[in-house]
């Protein structure tokens, strides 16, 4: 006992490092440092600082656009509600209605298609060929960004919200079927077997044995996807697939920062509301 105390007395305690192996730790640190210096250099060398400097007043104008946002700023400046401002307000509300309808339609269509695909992609209820096909569809839908799919949809279906609906439905399928399939794969086999044992046919087995187990999760995921689809519907408009995104793009192109600010505030408000209420509903279901 005595010599342990003697040997440890003079040493200080140190916090154990996050990565235990010292060679790996220092190797990672130096590698990261070298990479960051090179990468920052490559990015900063390309920056046109004069252009950034010129842009600063515009940035200030954008932030100023929030106080107060568009319809109010116009009333404050001119003392009245101009015809042009009314037109702009109509543009905003049109874009918003389009975004919201696109969100609802694409979520419903997406759910309807993703339920059979989700069933097919669950290994414990689908035969192997069906499983592989369904997993393939999911993989394709998940690997490309909504915006890239939107570009192709616009090329195929022309400008307008229909292209957006197809894009968002397609993206919904990848998300929802994958998570639904995982939920089905981790369900309790006992309940499903009990229904089987009563002599049920396949559809009855799905409705009474599988569906009650995954329903709360499916509703939760659908609400979550509704949320995501609204957010994405504000973006697909940038490539011409309808929604509030095209209104926003026009506002930025014309340097109408107070209009852009009010659109952004509306988006933030709706997303916040949707997130809050879907959180409440999900908490009640589980």
């Amino acid at each position: 006992m005595a010599d342990i105390a003697a040997t440890t007395a003079g040493r200080r305690w140190h916090k154990p490092p996050f990565i235990k192996n010292p060679k790996l730790r220092w190797g990672l640190y130096t590698g990261a440092a070298v990479y960051f210096i090179l990468a920052s250099y490559s990015i900063l060398a390309e920056v046109n600082w004069l252009r950034v400097y010129e842009g600063l007043p515009r940035g200030a104008k954008f932030i100023g656009g929030f106080f107060p946002p568009f319809p109010f700023s116009n009333i404050l400046e001119t003392g009245q509600f101009e015809e042009l401002a009314a037109q702009r307000l109509i543009d905003i509300s049109d874009g918003l209605v389009e975004s919201l309808t696109m969100t609802v339609t694409s979520t419903v269509i997406g759910i309807l298609i993703s339920i059979p695909i989700g069933l097919g992609a669950a290994r414990n209820i689908a035969p192997l060929p069906v499983y592989l096909i369904c997993r393939g569809i999911i993989a394709v839908s998940r690997s490309f960004q909504e915006i890239i799919i939107a570009i192709f949809c616009v090329a195929m279906f022309g400008f307008g919200p229909f292209a957006g609906v197809v894009t968002l439905s397609f993206a919904t399928i990848g998300f929802l079927s994958k998570l639904l399939a995982e939920e089905i794969e981790s369900m309790d086999p006992g309940q499903a077997e009990a229904i089987r044992a009563t002599g049920s046919r396949w559809p009855q087995w799905i409705v009474y044995g599988v569906q009650p187990q995954v329903m709360p999760r499916l509703i939760g995921l659908s609400l979550y996807r509704l949320d995501i689809n609204f957010r994405e519907s504000s973006v697909v408009g940038i490539v011409g697939a309808g929604g509030i995104g095209s209104t926003l793009l026009t506002a930025f192109d014309r340097y109408e920062y107070s209009t852009a600010a009010s659109i952004l505030l509306i988006i933030i408000g709706i997303v916040f509301l949707a997130e809050y209420s879907s959180g409440k509903i999900r908490a009640r279901l589980q």
Binding site: K15, F18, Y35, F36, A39, S42, I43, L44, E46, V47, N48, R51, V52, E54, G55, L56, R58, G59, F62, V97, E98, L100, T101, M102, V104, T105, V108, S143, F144, Q145, I147, I148, I151, F152, A155, M156, F157, G158, G160, P161, F162, V165, Y208, R231, V235, I238, V239, G242, G245, L249, F252, D253, Y255, A260, L264, I267, I268, V271, F272, E275
Partner: protein, 271 residues
């Protein structure tokens, strides 16, 4: 147990009548909303183009194949730019997300009535605005280029990282913090020795997860002029060079799969 009698026999039902009616009412309202929305969409659609789309799709796909492999020498640099945007954007975001997360977590916030709501507002606004919109805004303010893309990715990631991080902070084991407190440690020492070691695995996981998402998002930032491979994609589309588009899409696919693989490996090693 809900039972319906049918010619003197008791038949089992899953729900009683009132509950069944309520469920049907809910479905009915839902279908009404859907039909209403669909009518708005279909009113704004030119159906001629939609019926024509199979022909257009066949036409485009016949032009897209085979990919123009020679073009690959021109996309190495933009691909590297894309990865740089994602990585530096993630790092920048983390620098800003960590303080926001500590201000937003219920157990570490200095003031639950003013500072916490402000931090939550930062998180919500950063999360609800897509990185393409941030990029659109920044391109219009500081000019097109990789720099705008990096800042856009960073601004977008703050909310995501801060949200997951503050949830991790709220879930820590309080007894460890108390043990450090009992030694007479200061506020910062409690943070460094009681809280940080507990959230470190979550932090590393969130970083890699977000990096993976950022790679995906930075591939399309170029569409609005914010640098990366999207610039080439946009340019090729504008001149209708479909074989180049195919090659770029393949390159994006490989990059995304690579980043997903890296992120899965690293997260597997941490957890």
């Amino acid at each position: 147990m809900p039972v319906r009698s049918e010619a003197g026999l008791k038949v089992w039902q899953r729900r009683d009548r009132n509950k069944q009616l309520r469920i049907w009412g809910g479905w009915f309202a839902g279908i009404l909303v859907f039909v209403f929305c669909w009518q708005i969409i279909s009113g704004e659609t030119t159906w001629f183009f939609v019926w024509d789309s199979p022909r257009v799709a066949a036409d485009i796909s016949s032009r897209m194949w085979p990919p123009r492999w020679g073009y690959i020498y021109k996309i190495w640099d933009p691909l590297l730019d894309t990865i740089n945007i994602a990585t530096l954007g993630t790092v920048l975001a983390l620098f800003m997300a960590v303080p926001v997360a500590f201000l937003a977590a219920r157990n570490t916030t200095p003031n639950a009535y003013f500072i916490r709501p402000a931090a939550l507002f930062i998180i919500v606004s950063s999360r609800s605005i897509n990185s393409l919109i941030w990029a659109l805004l920044l391109v219009s303010i500081i000019g097109p280029g990789v720099f705008a893309g990096t800042i856009a990715i960073a601004l977008r990631s703050i909310g995501f990282c801060a949200k997951l991080l503050y949830e991790a902070i709220e879930e820590i084991d309080h007894t460890q913090v108390e043990a450090i407190e009992a030694t007479g440690a200061s506020r910062w020492q409690i943070m460094a020795y009681g809280i940080v070691p507990q959230i470190m695995p979550a932090f590393a996981g969130i970083t890699v997860f977000r990096w993976d998402i950022n790679i995906r998002e930075s591939t399309v930032l170029g569409l609005v002029g914010a640098g990366g491979i999207g610039l080439q994609l946009n340019a090729s589309m504008n001149i209708l060079a479909w074989p180049q588009v195919t090659l770029i899409l393949l390159a994006i696919l490989v990059t995304v799969l690579f980043s997903e693989w890296v992120s899965a490996k690293v997260r597997g090693a941490i957890i």
